[in-house]
Symmetry: C2
Subunit: 407 residues, 2 copies
Amino acid sequence: MLIVQKYGGTSVGTLERIQNVANRVAKARDEGKDLVVVVSAMSGETNKLIEYAHFFSKNPIKREMDILLSSGERVTAALLSIALNEMGYKAIALTGRQAGIKTDTAHTIARIESIDTSKIQEKIQDGNIVIVAGFQGINDKGEVTTLGRGGSDLSAVALAGALKADACEIYSDVDGVYTTDPRIEPKARKLDFISYDEMLELSSLGAKVLQNRSVELAKKMGVTIVAKSSFTDAPGTIISEAKEDKMEEVLVSGVALDKNQARITLRGVEDRPGIAAEIFKKLADENINIDMIIQNASEDKDGVKKTNLGFTVAQNQLEDAKNVIQNFNQEIGSVDFDENVAKVSIVGVGMKSHSGVAATAFEALAKNNINIEMISTSEIKISMIIDEKYGELAVRVLHDAYGLDKK
Amino acid sequence: MLIVQKYGGTSVGTLERIQNVANRVAKARDEGKDLVVVVSAMSGETNKLIEYAHFFSKNPIKREMDILLSSGERVTAALLSIALNEMGYKAIALTGRQAGIKTDTAHTIARIESIDTSKIQEKIQDGNIVIVAGFQGINDKGEVTTLGRGGSDLSAVALAGALKADACEIYSDVDGVYTTDPRIEPKARKLDFISYDEMLELSSLGAKVLQNRSVELAKKMGVTIVAKSSFTDAPGTIISEAKEDKMEEVLVSGVALDKNQARITLRGVEDRPGIAAEIFKKLADENINIDMIIQNASEDKDGVKKTNLGFTVAQNQLEDAKNVIQNFNQEIGSVDFDENVAKVSIVGVGMKSHSGVAATAFEALAKNNINIEMISTSEIKISMIIDEKYGELAVRVLHDAYGLDKK
C-alpha cells in the first residue's frame, strides 16, 4: 500500500514537532506502508522570508522570490529525513526538482504540468521513505518555481495522483472537516466523509482545512484525500467522490457562516438590455469580486421598465464598489448599502435528489424570527443573506434543523 | 573587465548589510565592470541549521546535510538580486546547480570537478549582474553537494578561474592581510601584496583571511585574489604569484603566532631503524596531527645508540598523544610534556635567496632573553617553539627586527 502524507507548517513548526512527525511516519512504515511524505516550511519561515524580501522591495522580482521561498521546505525535508535515518529508518529527502515536479513558468503561482516519478519510484523500491520538499518544482528551463499559498497540499495531491497512491493524507492542526465551526456550534460533528463538490463549496465558504486548488486537482485525478490532525490519532475526514448510497442518507453535510459580506441594492435601475452587464464589468475592472446577485422581475414605472438589483461583495471592497456605482447615478434610482449582513449556507449533495431541503431552512429561520434578505441556490448549496447579528444563531438553528449533530 | 566578487557571512549578516553589498556591487557595475557575485549564508544561519540537525542526530546523514545547508546561500543570493533589481540593475540569482558547478560525490566536503559556465556567460551577455549562491554544487547524479567550511571562497576562486576573470575580490570584515595580528602588534601593517606560497604558510599558521584550499586553487588556476573589507573602501591585499623583482626587496612578509601548541620530548629513544616511524604511525592512526619534529643526532649510551625525539601537537590532542606514547614505554627512557609553549613563525619568499634571515631572528630573540626550544625551517618559513609567555613579545621583537612596520 502506497500512502502520500503531507504535513503542514504548524505540524512541523518546531524541532520537537518534526520529531513527532518522524515518529508518526515511522509508525506508518512499521505497518508496512510505502510512504511519500510531503512537508511544508516550518510555520513562520515563509512569512519571515517574505518580510526579508519586502525590506528591499515592495514588489520583489518573482523569479528570485521562488529561489528564496523554496528554501524553507528544503530545510524541513532534510531535517525530517535526518530524524528518520537516526531512528534507523531508510529515508531520503528530495527537492521539488529531484522529485520530478515540472511546472509552467508562472513564478510564485506556478501550475504543475507533469511529474516524472521515476526517481521517487526507484527510491521507494530501494526501501526508502521518500521525503519531498513541498510547494516547489522546476520549469523546463531549470528555473525554480513555487506553487503559491497552500502549494504543499497541491504537491501532495499531484504526487498521489501521479504515483496512483492509495490515499493522500493531509495533516494539519485540525482533525478533519466539521459540520460547522465548533466555536459557533459546540455540537458540531466531525464528518467521516465528504464529497469533493461539497468540500469545494465549504472551502469557498471559508472552511480552512483544504484549499480549493488541491480539492479540484484531487477530484480531477481521482485522489482520495484524508484530512487528519498530526497531534491526535483521530481518524479524520475522507474526501472523495460522492457515493450513490450515501446520497440517499445525507441531505446536508455542513453549515457555513461568512460575516465578511456587504450588501448593495440598486433600486429603480432602468431595465434595458446590458445595463447589469455594464455595471458588473466596471466592478470586475476594479478587481471587485461579486458574490451573490439577485435581480427582481422588473416593474413598469412611469412608462419605463425598472428593476431592483442586489448583490454582495466582501466588506473591504465596499468602498471601491461605491466609487464604481457613482458613475451610474443617472441610470439608478437610489442605492442602499448594508455592511451588517452575513451569509449562512448549507451544503450537501443530497439536496440534488431531495425536494424540501430549502423549505426546512426557511422554516427554521422564520421560526426564530430571522429574516432572509437574499437567497441563492446551486445544486448542492443554499446561501442566504441575513442580518449579521443573527449569524451564529442561524448556524445553530440550521445545524439543528438538519440534525447534523447526529450521525 | 570581468570581476568575481565574494561576500562572506559577516558582510551579508543583516538585511542592512545586504543592502550595503548591493550598493557596492552597483558602484562596481557603474564603473563598467561585468560582475559575478558569490555570496555566503547570512552569518549565524549555517550554524543554526547545523544545530537544528544535531537536535535529531549527533552524526546527521551527510547527503541530507547538504540539502539543509545549501539553503542559506540561496536565501542571500535571492535577496541580493531582489535588492539590485529594485535599484534598477539587471541581476539574476543562480543556485550552485544553475551556475554549472559540478562536484564529486563527497557530501559536505565535495570538491569542484568542473564548471559549465555557459549559463553564467549567457546571463552576463544579456547584461545581468550574476549572483551565485556559494558553497554548493551538484554531482553527476543531480544530488546537492556542499564544499565544506569556507566553501564560498572556493566557489568564487573556481568561478574566477573558469571564467578567466580579471580578479577575484574576496570581501570580509578585515581589510586585507597584515604583517602580523594587529591585536598583538599595533604597528602591524597591511600588505599591498603577498604571494600564494606566503599566504598558504600564513593561513596554516592561523591567519583567518583565506582558507588554504582557496589559495591553493587560486595558485593552480592562476587567479589573482584581492582580499578586501566590505565595510571600508581600503584597497586590500593582492594575493598572486610572487614577482621576481619583489623578491629582491622583501625578505619577510609576516610574523605569525600559534599558542595552541604542546611539546612532547621523548628522551633516550632506542635508535633502531623504524622506531620513529612506528610511533608516528600510531599517532596518525589516532588522528593526532604532528606539527614540528626534531630528532637529535644519536649518542652512544651503555653500548646502545639512543636519541632524543621532540615534536609538537595541538594542545587539545595532548591527552590522546600521551595515551599512544605509553605503549612505547619499554623503548623510551623518559617523556617530557610541555603545554606552555608557543610557535612563532616568520614567512617570506625573500628568504629563499637571502642568507642571514634566520640569524636575524635568533639574534633578536636572544637579545630579549627568549630561549628557542625547537626550530623548523622551510624555503619560505622559519618556525620556532618558545615559552608561551614570551609569545606576544617575540612577535613584536621579530616584527621590529625585519622592519615590517615600514614599507
